[in-house]
Every structure is written in structure tokens, then in C-alpha cells.
Amino acid sequence: MSESTEKKMVRLRSSDGEVFEVEESVAKVAKTLQDMLEEDCADAVIPITCVRAPILTKVIDYCKDQVMISSSSSTTNNPNERTEQERKAWGQKFMEGVDSSTLCELLVASNFLNIEGLLNLGVDKMVSMIQGKYPQEIRDMFNVVNDFTPEEEEEIRNQNAWAFERDPYYKKRSSSK
């Protein structure tokens, strides 16, 4: 990468009108932006219509970090290079405290901007949020509407239920039988 391109700045506008100025290399982590920049429509402010400012901030944080890793990984023995374990821990920390609605927006943003790494992080986070939960918790978390009648729900619940050890819900159910 030459000096001039590295200094070049790109301006991004979120759906609620906030403008972010980032280095081109940071913006290029997003494949969608990379394609746009390569087609040379980089002069104006790029509108990112489906992403709100707080989400875009988080996305830019992620991109900045990716740039930091990749720029230093070309040199040997760099201190920023991460092992598999460190990457995992970093991902977990990055996603820490993200609630379900923010996570949905993050997923939509990374899907739209085509940032594979962030998408995978988000998907994994979502999977870990869903697994082990009860249907009612899922409905509360994601505003999923329960369109079953109580009888239908009971019927489905009794089909081939898995009994989880260390699981108070199923323990209660099985002992009440």
C-alpha cells in the first residue's frame, strides 16, 4: 500500500444523518465499500441507509481493529498477531454486552456492508444466545410473536422432548409427571 492511499479519508453517513470520517483502509474492510471505492465514487459522502450511528460506530471499531491486525501481520514477529485463542477471546470481548436488538442491527449492517468476520462473530453470538433458552425467553428477547394456541404449544412440547441434565425447567416437568 502506498503512502497516498493510506492517508485518504472516506466519509460515511449513517441512516440518522451522522457523518463518520475514516481512513480508506478501514472502510475497505467492508467489501461493499471496497467495491464502491474501487469504482471511484469515493468523493462524496457514502450514505449507509440501513445502519444507525451507534451501530456504525461499532462496525467501524471492528474494521479499525482488522486494519491494525492486517497492517502489522505483514511484518514478522509482530506483537499484534493473534493466536486462534486470542482471536476468540477478542471476539467474545467485542460482542460482550451487546443486547439482542443491537445484535440484530449489527448483523444486518455486516450483512449489508459484507464484512464476513463481523457477520460470523454476530452469528456465533446469536447462536450462543439462543441455545439453551426456553421458547418464552426467546420470544421476549427477539419479540417473536407466539402464534400457537396453548394446546398446540403443549402438543409440540411433548413431541420427542430432550431431557437436559442441569436444567431446572425439564427437571421440574419430569418430576411433576
Binding site: 456465533d124 420470544r139 427477539f142 402464534d147 409440540i156 437436559f164
Partner: protein
Amino acid sequence: MYDKHFAGSCGFSFTRETYSMSSSSSAGTETLSLIPGLPNDLAALILTLIPFSHHTRLKCTSKSWYSFLSSSTLLPLRRVTLPTPSLSHLVCIFPQDPSLGQPYLFDPLHAAWSPLPPMPCSPHRYGLSNFASVSLGSRIFVLGGSYFDNRSFPIDRPRASASVYALDLSTFTWSRRSPMPTPRGSFACAADPSTSSILVAGGGSRHNLFGSGGSRISAVERYDVVRDEWIEEEKLPRYRAGCVGFMFGEDEFWVMGGYGDCRTISGVLPVDEYYKDRAVLRLKNGKWREFGDMWEEGERWKLGRVVAVDGLNGARPDFFMLDGDEIFRFDVSMNRWWKESTLPRRSPPDCSCGFVALGEELYVMFVLPPSLDPGKKSRVKQKPPLFIQVYSHRKRKWRFLVTKSPFKHPLDFRTAVMCAVRL
């Protein structure tokens, strides 16, 4: 890592037609998104990645979740989307005759058990044992076995069965498949995923209730799962029953151990002659080749329980044998079993261990004997827990699990049939 565009290619459509339970729904204009605020292809990807044992519980979240998680394309999709180690590695345990005793699926990672529907039964047949069970895709096949027929005379003479049943784990339903051309129990059986077929070799009519007796056969057949058709292959070089079979790569079907001839001690007591060798069928030319003895005289009298652990990225499998309290690994080039490890906790005397390979690990399980401590008398009434020792041959390390088995009677691993499933 994941193919996020898979949902378009798998033919999911979230239309009302996909609902099997749409009795109470109102107008059909409501959006059928799985997770509000998330495009359905992303939500579908997320649900696809949820471990299999959590699916049933999540089904009652909403109708769209129910139809997605009940879809017959979900399990094939998991196999395409997820790397093999991330799939749910489960073991299916048949404690006894699968039409009488309910089989269970066990998910060791989440310590979860799920009952499976019993196999369809016939009013005349009972006491099926020594059947084979293999998984292929999202189906578990139960083949052959030895049973009693209340119409036969004498009534206590076991017969070999030719019947084949398949349990589809996406719908939890059994279906009857074309029977084997030759009835058999205690035979070598392996699934070949590359051609969607199942190979069976040798076997006989021995029943668990009788330690000896029973026929021996050498017939070899191949089942084409897609066409539901059996094809005869070249016979085994010798009669062989009680043997085990494995695929080795895509071209070789191995048959190990088992017994052939029977001699009698002082003219009365029948004793099986156990084979120490293995025979290999090359699928390309359909010819059997015999390899010599896999151990020296006196090392052991018969082959222990053998399992195959799939290699990384489609590499050929490694074979492990549980013999007493020791694990042996098979050396293909030397045609020998070498000691790999010893069980950290020895199995109780007169107890048989279950041995199964899940993912890259070996699971050795036995039922813990009831505590003899007089102070804990109440424990005897409880179901004895299942103690599982897990060995990772790559890390050469053991770990342990204890789980409450859901079976009413203590599991007897001498007669229980197990098969590993990846979903």
C-alpha cells in the same frame, strides 16, 4: 466460514403451506419472519447452527420456527453449512429389542437424552438381538438380527432376520426398507457415505440368549439406500459370524474378527474358533483379500470391541479396540494392534463396557455399580448413573462424564447396540 447465501439454494419457502399446524391462524398477511428485524436468510443460518438437541425445545417458539426446525431439509443443510467437528455428535443406544425397548439418543456435549419411537413390531416376532445399526445422513438403519418366531417349531430356536428399518431423525418416523437377500444377525456392517450405500458381510443366527450355536454364513451384500435395492457382492473367503466391518477410504470394506468353525471340548461343550485376521473387499474390483493374523497367539482369544475414528478432512480412519481395560490402536502397515492407553478408571468386574467413537474421541461407558456404603442405602433405589471415560487420541488425554441414564433397566452393554450419528 459459513455460506450465508445457502438459504436461497435449499428451497426453503416461508409460505403458509409449510405449516402442518395452521388450524388457529388468522389472516395470512402477517410477516413470517423467524426473527423480527433480521433478514430470513440470516435468521435461517443462525437457526441452522443451533445444536440438534436444542431443536425440539425451540420448535414451540412460533409457527415459523416450528416449520423451519421440522423441515426435512434442515439436517442435510447442517451437514453442508457446518464443518464436521461442529455438527452434533450423538450416540443412539438400543438397550434391547428396538420394538420393545425404547431407543434413546444421547448428546454428550449437552448431557441431554431424547427418547426415540420404538421400531414397528410384528405380532409373531420377539426378542430381536444381535442386529446391526448404522447411520447414514440423518437416518439410522436397523438391519437383520436374530429373533424368535412364535409360529415356528421348536419355538425356542432363534432365526435370522432379513428385515431392514430406517429411522428418519428429521421426522422421528420409522419406515420399512427392502429386506436383505440373506437373513443374518451378528454380522459386519458399514455405511459408505460416498455412494450412499450400506455393506453387510457374514453373520449368522446366534441369539444373545444362547452363548453358542447358530449358523454362520459368508454372503456379502450391498444396499443402495437411494434406490432401496440390494446387490450381491462376492462372498467372504470363509464363513464368518460375530465380525465387525468398517469402510477404509472410499474403496475398501474391512471385515475383522468373528468366529467360523466350532469345535467341541470332550465331545460336548461347543467352543467357537475365533478369527484373528481381517479380510478386505476392494470395491473397485469386487475381490476379497485376506490379511494375516492381527495379533500373536496368546495375546487375546478374540477381537475386542472395535471402532473407527474418522480422519481429519476426509483422511482414512484410525481404528481403536477396547480389550478389557486397555485401548489398542491398529497399525495398518504392520497389521497389528498396539497398546494406546489404559482406562483411568477400571471397569467393574463382570461388566461389559460400551465403546463408541464420536467425533474424534472415544467413549468408553459403563454403568456404575450401586454404592455399597451402608450409609447411602437410598441410592440403590435410584437408577445407576452411566460413567463415561472419553479419550482424545490426538491429545492423548482422558476426561470424564457422569450422566443419569434414562433407561428403566440398567444398560447391559454386552447386548445393547449402539451407533454414532452426526446431525
